[in-house]
């Protein structure tokens, strides 16, 4: 299918989310749409799927102008969408999910499962999308669930597939497999619109790259363009993709975990015998696919979740099962995974959020009365030092962009005198510029001889920051490796496969 978007413009009040966007996707082409969060990618897809009506511009399919007024229309015209968050029924089988809403029937309106299964097997052979049609979806790994989504789109005779940030939840191996699938789909004549903000993937798979920034197409690039060229087009200025790290010269152990067992809400051991240690001047990166116990581990360290057995020590002091207040006072800095839930009070000002966990510390309060002048001055200083983009310290933190909200947390934690920093998914959902910034702050912290534990499910981040990399799988550490280790090996560890070369 040849899809052409001509001069699409969509405004929300004074904000122009899409400004004269023109893109052409040729048949059999993998066309990559590269842009930061908030650049207008989602708006464009919603226009394409009829969920939003454009103010200007037109959509042409195979040269014919078309009106798409709802998603059913889009599907009938051969557009298929694979959402970032899968739209599958977890307790149904693959077959049931694929035919849902379009069930083939036999007499008496009974669903013809045999025919449905055959259709799926035929499709999966045709496009190398191997998956067991009778498997229950919730038991499948994320990568296979995504295949089901793709199969579902193909079963509706989609000629153009839109993949919206498809790799966010995948392991490196699953990403490679997805790339293969994309290539074979393109070879079979399907067009693919691949939406992402990850440069490596774009370079690996795209035929053409269109970069959008602040609602506008700022240019197109060949996959041969370098990552830093792509990044600077995306951000609008030069970006340093690799953070400069001083040579690694670790000191003594600062932080130590021994045989830690922590249970989750269901009472199951989410952390099951984890031992780790972090030295001064070292960043230990904890890699792993989301949901393997990292969240519970960090909560236990921060005093927010009871420890069943084992110990946590900071500078030789036992902080196991201490309250969050005691842990904070012991010098632990915590950048929480869910910044809006645990890190910020959205209805309060930037200044108040910058003293959220030190409101009683001098000079912010004296004998129970807050010194708002000192709080204000502190905020003004940090806004300057950490380059937080805000109108004033009094502005509500909810009106800041995601990147600046995270800067508020980073500034608050790093400005306290810390003994140890735990950062959980510190750049999730942030744009390239903010990622660069947060990374530099953490590396500076480490260069100054401090210790940090960085938990991340982004392999790039783990490799960029870690002096050593521990991989967590199913509540256990499946290996601790050097950052020079290949992505494949780390990927294998993320799936729980023990690897020979892992060392402590």
């Amino acid at each position: 299918m040849r899809l052409e978007l001509r001069g699409i413009t969509k405004r929300f009040g004074s904000l122009t989310a899409n400004d004269q966007i023109s893109i052409t996707v040729e048949p059999g082409q993998i066309h990559s749409l590269l842009g930061e969060n908030g650049a207008g990618k989602s708006t464009l897809m919603n226009v394409l799927f009829g969920l939003l009506t454009p103010d200007e511009g037109e959509i042409l399919i195979n040269g014919e102008p078309v009106q798409i007024t709802n998603s059913g229309d889009a599907v009938r015209r051969g557009l298929g969408m694979v959402h970032q968050h899968f739209m599958l029924v977890p307790v149904f089988t693959v077959t049931e999910n694929v035919v849902l809403g379009f069930e083939p029937t036999k007499s008496l309106n009974r669903v013809d499962y045999r025919k449905a299964t055959e259709d799926i097997l035929h499709l999966s052979r045709q496009f190398n999308l191997e998956v067991d049609p009778d498997a229950v979806v919730e038991r499948l790994p994320i990568g296979l669930q995504q295949r089901v989504e793709i199969l579902k789109a193909l079963s509706h005779d989609a000629e153009l597939l839109i993949l919206d940030e498809p790799t966010a939840v995948l392991t490196p191996q699953e990403i490679d497999a997805l790339m293969e699938i994309m290539r074979s789909l393109a070879a079979a004549g399907k067009s693919i619109l691949f939406i992402t903000h990850k440069l490596k993937e774009v370079k690996a798979v795209a035929d053409v790259i269109t970069i959008i920034r602040q609602g506008r197409v700022v240019g197109t690039a060949e996959p041969t363009a370098s990552e830093s060229e792509l990044a600077s087009m995306m951000v609008g200025r030069d970006v340093e993709l690799t953070v400069h790290k001083e040579p690694f010269s670790p000191g003594g152990d600062v932080f130590e975990i021994r045989d830690l067992v922590v249970r989750d809400e269901r009472g199951l051991p989410a952390v099951n015998g984890v031992s780790l240690s972090v030295r001064a001047g070292e960043i230990l990166a904890l890699a792993g696919v989301q949901g393997n116990g990292q969240t519970e581990l960090v909560e236990a360290i921060a005093g927010m979740r009871p420890v069943e057995s084992g110990s946590i020590t900071l500078n030789g002091r036992d902080i196991t099962n201490h309250s969050p207040r005691q842990v904070l006072d012991a010098g632990l800095g915590h950048i929480p995974e869910d910044r809006q839930r645990d890190g910020l009070v959205m209805s309060m000002s930037v200044a108040d959020n910058l003293v959220l966990n030190t409101p009683r510390r001098a000079p912010f309060a004296r004998r129970g009365t807050r010194n708002l002048v000192a709080v204000q001055a502190h905020a003004a200083q940090l806004i300057k030092d950490f380059d937080i983009r805000t109108e004033s310290p009094q502005e509500l933190v909810s009106s800041l962009s995601g990147g600046n909200q995270q800067k508020v947390i980073v500034a608050r934690e790093l400005s306290r005198s810390l003994e140890f920093l735990v950062a959980s998914q510190p750049t999730r959902g942030l744009d390239v510029g903010s990622i660069e910034y947060v990374h530099r702050q953490m590396v500076d912290h480490r260069n100054n001889g401090n210790a940090a534990l960085v938990v991340s499910s982004e392999l790039d981040e783990v490799l960029a920051l870690g002096d050593r990399i521990a991989v967590m799988y199913d509540g256990k550490i499946s290996g601790v490796v050097d950052p020079s280790t290949s992505r494949e090996t780390i990927g294998l560890l993320m799936t729980g496969t023990r690897v020979e070369q892992s060392r402590d």
């Binding site: 929300f12 009040g13 004074s14 904000l15 989310a17 930061e36 969060n37 908030g38 650049a39 207008g40 602040q214 609602g215 951000v235 921060a302 927010m304 309250s323 969050p324 207040r325 005691q326 842990v327 904070l328 006072d329 915590h334 929480p336 839930r341 645990d342 890190g343 910020l344 009070v345 959205m346 209805s347 309060m348 108040d352 959220l356 966990n357 409101p359 009683r360 309060a365 129970g368 009365t369 807050r370 708002l372 380059d387 983009r389 109108e391 509500l396 909810s398 009106s399 800041l400 962009s401 990147g403 600046n404 744009d431 510029g433 903010s434 910034y437």
Partner: protein
């Protein structure tokens, strides 16, 4: 200075008026409340209704019906105003002759008298709301405060400088005790505060009956459920002396101090900051090292203490004794406090104004009832409609076509600017 300036100013005023600012929404809610009240007066007054019917039967002119409507509604709201704030004629008379000041000031004195305990108890409820705690037990806490203060006021005999403060502290302590029960139960067992406080109200009411029927506290020589009279040294003296006949007492100063305390507590104290963080985002509060348990217990102690103070102020400035129906009839100030706190958006100044409004509607409603025959219930209807519209800003916004405020516009404009 070009011609454009006045236009722009006029535009800016209009923009403010049609924005969703809380105060604007509240003012429109007030207008709607009085409008609904007017419709009720119109449809329940026989003469007005007859005049309107006349239009359809060709024996009356619409002009007459409209005039009659305005006369009736006007009279009702006029008496409501003159009965609760001031009668302009009487004020003019006093200003020109210097006489009759007590008569002129009686309405506002009554309104302040009614508002005094309302301000105190509503601020207690508002502080709890800001912490995310729903204190439905303020009435029981006020009753227990009244009893505790009353016991000190009747059974201990001391000079006023010691006696009144002591009785007042006893009232606060009584409310704190009543408040700490649901606080501790919630903090340590997770019991839901709404259930516990509602049930505790009945426990306190039963205790009140027991107290006013028991020998040391009951009025000697009485079989009825009524307490001894407070010692003169434990009563709030009238602000303008007994001779003036004005009931407004030194209790209003206590209420004023509570407003100042609440402002300091919420805006300036470290504990108040913890409370607000907990109310706005309990998970972030926990992650920031705030102990949810101590906040829950403390907020109930403070909220209950203020309710207890309100109960004592009520008894020590008006009735000077406590009977078996103390604060229980007419829903009780502890329940009115919930709506007042809502109307005042849990802010001390907002609560002050809301309390004055509610007191004025009550006092003025009584004047309206005696002078125009329109039942007092109309005042209650107006109060309820106002709160209803304040609680549903979306509806008010739709009715008056208010635009999103400048803050919301700003937010949209700054989206997508990354770093």
């Amino acid at each position: 200075m070009t011609e454009a300036t006045p236009v722009r100013l006029h535009r800016r005023v209009w923009a403010q008026l049609t924005s969703q600012h809380p105060i604007v929404v509240t003012i429109f809610a007030l207008i709607l409340g009085f409008l609904v009240g007017a419709i009720i007066i119109m449809t329940t007054t026989a003469s007005v209704l007859d005049a309107w019917r006349g239009i359809f039967h060709n024996w009356g002119a619409p002009g007459h019906a409209i005039k009659l409507t305005f006369d009736n509604v006007g009279a009702a709201y006029r008496t409501m105003f003159t009965g609760s704030v001031v009668d302009p004629n009487s004020l003019w008379h006093s200003l020109t002759t210097g006489k009759n000041w007590p008569v002129t000031l009686t309405p506002i004195s009554e309104t302040l008298t009614y508002a005094t305990p309302l301000v105190i108890v509503s601020i207690g409820v508002g502080i709890a709301f800001q912490t995310g705690i729903f204190n439905i037990g303020a009435n029981g806490q006020a009753v227990l405060g009244g009893i505790a203060g009353g016991v000190v006021a009747t059974m201990v005999h001391l000079p006023m400088v010691i006696h009144l403060p002591l009785a007042l502290l006893a009232g606060v302590a009584g409310g704190m005790v009543a408040g700490s029960v649901p606080g501790i139960l919630k903090a340590f067992t997770g019991a839901h505060e709404v259930i516990v406080t509602i049930m505790l109200n009945y426990v306190v009411y039963a205790f009140l009956l027991f107290a006013v029927l028991s020998t040391p506290f009951q009025q000697p020589g009485q079989q009825n459920d009524i307490s001894r009279t407070f010692d003169g040294s434990a009563q709030f003296p009238p602000l303008f002396g007994t001779a003036s006949g004005l009931r407004v007492s030194y209790g209003v100063l206590v209420a004023a101090m509570v407003v100042v305390f609440a402002w300091w507590f919420l805006d300036r104290s470290s504990l108040g900051f913890d409370f607000r963080v907990t109310g706005a985002n309990p998970s972030a509060a926990r992650a920031s090292g705030i102990s949810a348990r101590s906040v829950v217990v403390l907020v109930f102690v403070i909220s209950g203490g203020l309710a207890g103070l309100a109960g004592f102020v009520q008894a020590a400035s008006t009735t000077h004794e406590i009977d078996g129906g103390f604060l229980i009839g007419n829903a009780g100030i502890g329940f009115t406090a919930i709506t007042i706190a809502l109307l005042g958006r849990n802010r001390p100044m907002g609560i002050l104004w809301s309390s004055l409004l509610f007191a004025a509607l009550g006092v003025g409603g009584r004047a309206m009832q005696s002078q125009t025959g329109i039942p007092l219930d109309l005042a209650t209807v107006i109060q309820s409609v106002i709160v209803l519209f304040v609680a549903t800003p979306v509806l008010v916004k739709e009715i008056f076509r208010l635009r999103a405020g400048p803050v919301a516009t700003l937010k949209l404009a700054t989206q997508g600017w990354g770093t």
